[in-house]
């Protein structure tokens, strides 16, 4: 995977360390590393102090219940530390995506609900491990390095000033006047900078690697997350299906029935109204009501056909086929009814493709075949037309591909120019995320 490059900065700290030294020393990496280490030492110290403060206060006040609450909150300290450290990684990983949290997303906004939710969750062992490492070991190593870097650079920079008041000695090289101290200071400044730049960057990079291992979501959690995503996608498809059914039922039981009743009334009126202009108007009204009914029926069919709900794929596809202007052979044999989203996907693939065939393919025959093959529903539509069909070419097929995708299925379109067109849909018969 390619990562966006920040101008002039090597993509990772390790790459910068291994690369051209001059470039490394002039880059922002040494400063980033220093900032990271300085931050780590402060945070580690605060964690260390905070942990013992909480434990001590917690034990002392445990008699008045508050203490128990404090003690129970200690794991959250580590969770908060982990969250902070994941954010701080950005200092050392510019331009890279941030580390995924191993915790599930919070369900409500605000830090209170965050606290409540995290307290109820088990503390990941790796996050605890990172906190303990940082609070006991890493923070003072980082502090030593960060502090000494500043100390040495400051000393070397101030060498002439120090020599003015006192003797300035570095590794047996003594100077007691500012002029003598100047070259020592300059050389020392460069050497210290180079030394601490490499040490600090290496240390920070190592700590970043450690943090990435201990604070990121592990494989199992990632898989769980994928499962959750799949499930939510299926839920969406399902909700979509339910909503379509609801709309269909509404139209079917409401508007459509009223229109049918209207045609009945008009039909009766035709028998009773005497011949003349009045009867002509009634006949016209009857015709218009029937046209409205036909339009509505067509619309309902596109939303979710009732015959699909009642009788399944074969009957619904046969009904579509029977309405086509070209002969369409239907041969669908399924051992049982399939889950509603699968049936709907198959039906709409068949109906969409066969409509396209009738409209654009210039075909004279078409065959729809459906069967179950190793837990997969397979549906093929083959015509003898001119070919050249594509999924994205303004057809409704693109939406169907998305729908199938969510169900774990796929759609293959084989349509060379000159034909014939073969469409093959595969979709797992069972829906389990």
């Amino acid at each position: 995977m390619s990562r966006p490059r920040t101008a002039g900065v090597a993509p990772t700290a390790w790459a910068a360390l291994a690369g051209n030294p001059a470039r490394f020393l002039l880059s922002s990496w040494p400063f980033r590393a220093w900032a990271y280490l300085a931050g780590a030492s402060v945070i580690g110290l605060v964690t260390f102090v905070g942990f013992f403060t909480l434990v001590v206060i917690g034990i002392v006040t445990s008699l008045v219940v508050v203490g128990l609450f404090l003690l129970a909150s200690i794991p959250v300290l580590f969770v908060a530390l982990g969250a902070l450290e994941r954010r701080r990684l950005a200092v050392m990983t510019p331009g890279q995506p941030s580390l995924r949290s191993p915790h599930p997303a919070t369900t409500e906004p605000g830090w209170r609900s965050w606290f409540r939710q995290r307290r109820a969750e088990p503390l990941p062992r790796r996050e605890l491990g990172y906190g303990v490492l940082l609070a006991t070991l890493l923070w003072w190593i980082d502090l030593v390095v960060a502090f000494n870097a500043v100390l040495f650079l400051a000393l070397m920079a101030l060498a002439p000033l120090i020599a003015h008041y006192d003797e300035f000695v570095v590794l047996g090289w003594a100077a007691d006047s500012p002029l003598e101290a100047l070259p020592i200071g300059l050389v020392g400044l460069v050497v210290s900078y180079v030394f601490f730049a490499y040490v600090a960057t290496a240390l920070a990079a190592a700590q970043v690697a450690l943090a990435r291992i201990l604070l990121g979501a592990d494989q199992e959690q990632l898989e769980q997350r994928i499962t959750e995503l799949r499930r939510s996608r299926l839920d969406l498809v399902d909700a979509f299906e339910t909503e379509r059914k609801r709309i269909e039922r509404h139209l079917h039981d409401g508007v459509q029935q009223r229109l049918v009743a209207l045609t009945m009334t008009l039909g009766r009126a035709e028998l009773d109204v005497p011949e003349g202009a009045g009867l002509d108007l009634v006949r016209q009204a009857h015709g218009e009501a029937e046209a409205a009914l036909a339009d509505l029926r067509e619309a309902v069919r596109g939303i979710h056909p009732r015959v699909l709900v009642d009788h399944g794929i074969e009957a619904a596809v046969r009904e579509v086929a029977d309405r086509m202007p070209i002969p369409v052979a239907v041969d669908i044999t399924l051992p049982e009814r399939l889950p509603a989203p699968v049936e709907a996907a198959a039906y709409f693939v068949a109906s969409e493709t066969v409509t396209n065939v009738a409209r654009h393919a210039g075909a004279t025959t078409c065959r729809i075949t459906g069967w179950v093959e190793e837990d997969d529903l397979v549906l093929t539509v083959i015509d003898n037309g001119i070919g050249g069909a594509r999924v994205g070419a303004g057809t409704g097929l693109a939406g169907l591909v998305t729908r199938l995708d969510a169900l774990g299925g796929r759609l293959q379109v084989d349509s060379p120019a000159g034909g014939p067109t073969r469409i093959r849909m595969e979709c797992p018969c069972r829906i389990d995320p």
Partner: protein, 218 residues
């Protein structure tokens, strides 16, 4: 208009349509002895006082699947002489199959609900069913014919024979077909003879509609 009054029981769960049906049937001069909204009530009514014709929706409470159809099958079993006219929202093979599988002295009909608005034809269908004949929706027949378009024997029919076949499948008598196509009844008889010969069907006048439909369904 028919000059006799039939006893009719209507079963339809949607009040609006039930009322419309009652109005149309009464307009035809028939007596609606009961208009019910579920299949059980229909069976009970027919059991207590068998009418001439039953008009029932396929889908009815409680299950809203094919209760009407199952009620029709029970009625056919218990009172074979009662004519049964089934109304459905859409063309479904399964409905036609179960209707064809229940022959009896009583007539059988399968119409789409939309057809009821064509009052004259609907009343004709009731008459045919009451007389022990068949009434099949033209849309159903059209789809059946369309399905067999490029098959062997059917392709051998002339355009006129095809027209006659479609009207036969709807359940019309030779006389009615002749009137529809504005030709003599003798001409229709000749066409019917040719059709039966070409399709290799039994030349019986008794059950010719179901024979034709069964043939068309393949």
């Amino acid at each position: 208009m028919p000059d006799r009054s039939l006893k009719v029981v209507i079963a339809e769960d949607l009040a609006l349509l039930r009322e419309g049906l009652v109005g149309i049937v009464e307009r035809g001069g028939h007596e609606v002895v009961a208009a019910v909204d579920n299949a059980d009530a229909l069976v009970t009514w027919v059991h207590n006082d068998p009418p001439d014709v039953v008009i029932t929706d396929v889908r009815m409470p409680p299950g809203l699947s094919d209760e009407g159809l199952r009620a029709a099958a029970r009625i056919r079993e218990e009172h074979p002489q009662v004519g049964i006219l089934v109304l459905s929202q859409y063309v479904a093979d399964a409905y036609l199959t179960s209707l064809l599988e229940a022959p009896g002295p009583g007539g059988t009909g399968y119409l789409l609900k939309d057809r009821v608005g064509h009052v004259r034809e609907f009343l004709d269908s009731i008459d045919r069913v009451a007389d022990g004949g068949m009434a099949v929706d033209p849309e159903v027949v059209r789809q059946l014919l369309g399905r067999r378009r490029d098959d062997g024997p059917l392709a051998g029919l002339t355009a006129r024979e095809r027209e006659v076949l479609a009207l036969m499948a709807e359940g019309l008598t030779n006389g009615t077909i002749a009137a529809r196509l504005v030709v003599s009844e003798a001409a229709i008889r000749k066409h019917v003879g040719n059709i039966f010969a070409k399709l290799d069907l039994e030349q019986g006048t008794d059950r010719r509609v179901s024979a034709v439909l069964t043939y068309l369904r393949g």
